[in-house]
Symmetry: C2
DNA sequence: TATGGGGTTTCCCGTGATGGGAAGGTCAAG
DNA sequence: CTTGACCTTCCCATCACGGGAAACCCCATA
């Protein structure tokens, strides 16, 4: 399989696939003409990576997940620990964003949004009572 | 005021303040020795920037907000439009993160997390039924 | 056989918003 | 005069790619 087909099937840009090879996440073979030659196992790994990235795992997390995936002697507790720590990061981010949403939402609701210059959003950002 | 004091009072690292000058968000004076010399107005702008960044606005959004803040002839509708568009981006991100949280959370709950290799998290990421 | 068009390769630069750290100038206190 | 804290500029690194150039490869058609 050449890179374009594998890209289509894994749902990843060709650029990303080359990058993943460069950082050692996959090791496709090479044809005589220098083209990358992907096996089914490469495609499988790329699809795994695409899904893990879609769940927000960092590249290094993905590397660890892939290693666990390929290690038949793994303990599921190792996988779960990784996933739980990522879940915690996700929850933190959500909390942070919700804080922003609440603060900014209140300012937006207080703003008339007309042609006049008076703006609670600006005074809110400027004032000491903002972003508590 | 030298940079360290202004950094402490604005709640920003000195590095960040230098960067903000470099990209033209602030224009502090210079003392004879080459040191930056911050006025109260610079401090005020930096505090504004720190809060706007804390609300998740991008640097370019901050530039626009600062311009509006300094423009006495602004229309509050312009500010509100900017803020609402940012609020929408925040909501999108929250939705995306909640999707991840739901999917990954379900996988984590299904995983025994013991010494055995069987792991619904890995098969979930590997399988076609993962990530919507 | 030439030509065209698409696929592929490597290489280098850019992103956003800083952080780290080196090399060197300046200032106030002891 | 020295020490140590502060300041300066400059360059490189982050993270996960994306854009685009220059060159090579393959296949089909005229």
């Amino acid at each position: 399989m050449n890179i374009k087909e594998v890209a289509a099937r894994a749902g990843l840009p060709a650029k990303t696939i080359r990058y993943y090879e460069e950082i050692g996440l996959i090791r496709p073979l090479r044809a005589a003409n220098g083209y990358r030659s992907f096996r089914e196992s490469d495609l499988h790994k790329l699809a795994f990576l695409a899904r893990a990235r879609g769940l927000g795992f960092s590249i290094e997390d993905c590397r660890a997940l892939l290693a666990l995936y390929e290690d038949r002697a793994r303990a599921s507790s190792d996988v779960k620990a990784l996933a739980e720590s990522h879940l915690a990061r996700i929850a933190e981010k959500i909390a942070e964003l919700r804080g922003m949403e609440a603060t900014l939402g209140a300012l937006v609701r207080a703003c008339a949004g007309d042609a006049r210059p008076d703006c609670p959003i600006l005074t809110g950002i400027a004032g000491k009572d903002c972003c508590g």
